[in-house]
Each structure stands twice: as structure tokens, then as C-alpha cells.
Symmetry: C2
Amino acid sequence: MAKIPDKIQTWQMVQPTTKNKETGEVTPGKLEKKEIAVPELAPDDVLVEVAGCGVCHTDLGYFYDGVPTVSKPPLTLGHEISGTVVAGDEKWIGKEVIIPAVMPCRKCILCKTGRGNRCLDQKMPGNSLGLYGGFSSHIPVPSIDLCEVKDRAGIPLSHFAVIADAATTPYQAAVRADLKPGDNVVVIGITGGVGQYVGQITKALGAKTVIGIARNKEKLERALKFGTDFCINSTDKDARAISTEFRSYCKEKGLPNTGWKIFEVTGTKTGQEIALTLLGFVGKLIVVGFGLAKTEYAIGRLMAFDADIIGTWGCLPEYYPIVLDMALNGKINMEEFVETRPMSTIAETFAEAHKVPPMKRIVLEPDF
Amino acid sequence: MAKIPDKIQTWQMVQPTTKNKETGEVTPGKLEKKEIAVPELAPDDVLVEVAGCGVCHTDLGYFYDGVPTVSKPPLTLGHEISGTVVAGDEKWIGKEVIIPAVMPCRKCILCKTGRGNRCLDQKMPGNSLGLYGGFSSHIPVPSIDLCEVKDRAGIPLSHFAVIADAATTPYQAAVRADLKPGDNVVVIGITGGVGQYVGQITKALGAKTVIGIARNKEKLERALKFGTDFCINSTDKDARAISTEFRSYCKEKGLPNTGWKIFEVTGTKTGQEIALTLLGFVGKLIVVGFGLAKTEYAIGRLMAFDADIIGTWGCLPEYYPIVLDMALNGKINMEEFVETRPMSTIAETFAEAHKVPPMKRIVLEPDF
């Protein structure tokens, strides 16, 4: 039985990387090990002893790229968290859980009408949950939306951290896409932490065809082992060349030229231009990746195509148990896509992941 | 009882307006009165004696603006048609009907899966139905998707022509928008033939608020009498100014800033820019108007907003009886939005409507 700690040990982002607008001088961000008080828990809160916290592209955005957190620094980053409940709400004590990356308020009209994933009062650890985040020994969170891991079949609890975001965001995207068995799917950015789960999950949900588009050869080859039927390496190719390769594959396999569901996970202008070029009659483009770049498009084409562009944000906590089951039943693979490291490597790990996207999702395990 | 004619009398577009690309010289289009043979009817076809055919912006596009028809000229334009069946399939003879503007093939995968409105083999009178169109005494069409007008409650049959396109396209748009009672709606281009029905139909389907945006003062005032709650005159205003006016109205009325359904009916870059500016959290932008202009937009915002852009094309024939009922039950008004003229005025009417969009939908009645 885990113990209730006196203090929370944590890796705080004391200061993000900043760039002087006038001189261009970069001041490196700072991560520091700190000890903070265990807060008084509200009746519906629990304290979770962290087993692992995934390093997400979003964390790197906060630390390196000027993306602002809702709670101002110092705060602890990290929102892909699994762990064990050690204090608070009695009925949860001792349970192993995944903490949803975004926790809806459950009180507003969006929450009441099934759109809680986009609740405007939602809390996200490592962003809008005060100073608390996953790169810690413990974290206080509301219990209402915890996802219990009942029988983890010998898989280390820390691995389940990736369910919170990397694997659930794709599930929500598939729901938003109204994905049906027999659907044909394209995933742009299939080699990324989220992208590869878009491929795995759409296939697991019954997609007939999954075509992956990205640049990393090694990761594209891995995708072919996990549900992707065909890959297009987009290195040095423009949208038109990719479209030609896509159409040629469709012709070869007798696939239709209507109704494709295209998931754009990169958030880049290049990725979006490929997506818009591939979008056709009765198609859907699902925008999973975030970026601020503006893209030119004749929106009138959507009318002629009877086609949609669908933005998708986060994942409803009620879908977490479904994705967890998919992982436990082997419908999606976690093991080949997770690497664990001691949490004390956080600074090097951030630097490394910011430089080159890692082959596997890195989950940091507390070693305070 | 209507007679079976020996010949079909018709106003053919012998030649659309053309412009010499080098000299810029414009050769005016030609409409000519012709007599053509009544074709042999296939077992499932009928011959309809035309009561009226609406003049749509699409017809003017074909005649004046270089939009190509699928069947090459000479052909007769016109796709908003009501009339009486006079020959063919026995069980239809004598019935008063509305002819759907687009008639799905009913054989392909799109037709079989509920997307027949975007069937790629669909036939549209005055465009892809050989040389046949609505500006005629009679027209041969398949019977499978005819909409019977059982009791027209004293309203002239010719008026029902507007159901085929002007009133049904908005209904399909509302279906695509997943319009629900209590929804809040913006209609950009609410003064147009289609736009005003988007306002009427969304209100009839239970929209809490309908805000109309357009430039024509007189038509905006009329919109307020037919379901529109508030109008923004967009003359000389940019998207930002319109957005401010919109937000100020929302604040005054205590309306939410999430979940708005925005219908863009103009197909113009200006209209689209207004629409994209108004689109917010959990919102939907429904693209009803067609245009080729490219618009700049940061598609990543759709992800952050959990919002959609939905293109909508035509209307499934199975929805025609629903819209017909709405007209017959007074839930939407036809009378105030229809003007009839003799079909022999076609050339003047086209010229007039191309110059200034008319206050009412003009329906031409055969007077051969």
C-alpha cells in the first residue's frame, strides 16, 4: 500500500525558454527539482502517486517554443499521467488509474451536451491545474473522471500514461470523423506520437485501408507492422506528387475516389496542404494537429464536394476505458511505442526530444 | 386532363455568353424558341407538363459567366420545376409534382449510403439531362424521385417550383448542420433566393436565434418579418466590425459565445471571411454558396475550437416532401418570395436578374 507523503517532489518549469524580441537573445528555460506542500484535498479530489508521465510535443511547446501555459510559471509540466490513488475520496484509494489529459468541469452547457472535451473551464495538468503537473512524485486531481486500470496484464503501470492523450486524442478524432468499418483513411504525420495511434486506432475500429504519409523511413516501416497498409514518404515531394502517388495506389487496389477520411496530425502548413489536396467528394478532413500557419483554400470546393473539415480537441474522459480496453486486448500496441526513463533525466530528455522526435513515446518514471 | 403533346416547345440556350480571351470581346449569349421531338420514354420515365420554372443564380452563371453545363449547348436551362405528369409511368399520370433539381442515379455506393445528393451520376435538368430543361412546355424525367403535390391549398402549382432548389438546398444544409431546436444561427447572404430560405427553414426547425447578414436594406427588413431576429447590414463593414456588432448583440441578449451555426450562402470571399471570423468554439460553418475564390485561414484553429466547416450540395429528393409540408403548413412562406412571369420574357428576365438580384424568386410560366 502506497504511503501518503509529507511533501510532493516535483520538477518545476521555473521559467520557459524566452527570446528577447529586440536582440533575439535566447534565455534558456529552467527545470528545477522542488518540494511543494500536499494541498488540502476537496471532497471529490484524490492524490495520485505518479507511476509515469509521458513527454508530449505540447510540453516541449511550453518549454521551448513560447506557447503560454494557462497557469503562469513556476509550474510543473506533464499531462500524460498514470499512477495509484493514495489519499482523498475513500472509494478510490489503492486504485491504479489513468488521469485524463483534459478534465471537463462537468457543470457547463458544453459538458452537459456531450462536448466536455472542449469545456472552457477544463483543467489540464501541467497547464491549467494551478502549479500541478505530471513530472512529480504525486499530483492532486478531481476523481470524477479517473480511468481505473483494473487488470493491467503484467504491463508496467507507467506505460499506461500514453493512454492519456497520445492514444485517446486519436480515438476522439475517429469519433468526430464518424469512422465506420470499411472506411478508407489517410494519416498525415503517421510517424508521430499521436499520428501512429491514429493509424492503429482507425485500423482497430475497422478501417479497410490506412495510408500513412510522413518523412521518417524507419518509422514509416514500423507503421506498416501496426495496421498501416501503405506508406507514402513525403520527403522532397509536393502535395501534387503525393496526390498522384495516392491515386495510383487507389487505382491499383480498386479503392474508391470518394469518402476518404483524412487525418492531419502534423499541424504544419505542408501537412495541411497535402490534406486539402487529397480531400475529395464526400470526404472528411479531420484536423488533429495544431498550428498557427495560414493556408489558402477555396472553401467553395467543400460545397461542390459535399465534404467537411472537422477540428478535434482532446478526448472525453468517458472514452478512456474504451481505449484502455483496446490496449489490453491487443487491438492497439503500447509496448513497441513506449520507452521509460528516470524522471531525473527530464532536462536531457526534453532537449533530446526537442531536437529529434524520438522513435518511441518517452515516459518518465519518478526517481526522487 | 392535360394532353400529350406532339412536340416540346422550349427556350434553348443556343449559345452562352462568351468572351474572347485575347481581345476581351464579348459575344452575347442566345436564347431561342425551338420545337423539339418528344423522346421515347423509358419504362420508369414520365413526361411532365411544366407549370413553372424558377430562374436561379445558377442559370445566370451558365448563361452569362462562363460556368459550363455538363451537356453541351444547345440545351434548355432551368432546374426549379413544378408541373403535371401527362405521359409515361401509369401510376403518375395526372399527378401534380415537383421535379428534384438533382436526381441521383439510385445505383451507386453514394446513393446506397445516403449521400445521393452528391451522386456523381446524378442528373440535373438544364445542365446534365441531355438537352432538356425547365424553360419548356414539357420535360421528360425519371419518376422515381418526383415529389407529389397532393393538396396545394389554392396556391398556384407554378409557385411550388421554388421548392426544387431554393427551399430544399437550405433544408439539406440544416440537416448537414445537425440543426437542433434551440440552436443559434447566422445566415450570411440572407437576402438571396436561397439565403432567405436558410433563415426561414432554420427558424421553422426551431432555431432560437437567426441573425441575418447582407447588404440590401429592403430585403433585410423583409427578413425580419420572416423569422430573422436581428440583421447586420454589412455594407462598408469589414469582418472585424461585423464580428463586434455580432458580439454586442449576443451580449445584450445573453446568448452564448459557443456552438453557433453559421451558414455562408454568398459563395464570395467577403462572405467567407465574415463566416470564418464568426466561427468559434464548438461552432459549425456550413458552406452553402459556391465560389472559386481562395480564402486564407489557419486551419489549426478548427482543432482549438473543436469546430467544423461543412460543405453541402443540393438536396436529397426524400427531403422534398418535408419541405413541401413546411410550405403547405405555413411554416415557411412562398407567396412573399415568388413572382411569376410569362416564359416568353425569359431573355429580359435573365438580363434584369443578372443586373440586379430581384426581390422575389422569378418563376417563368410557359406561354408558348
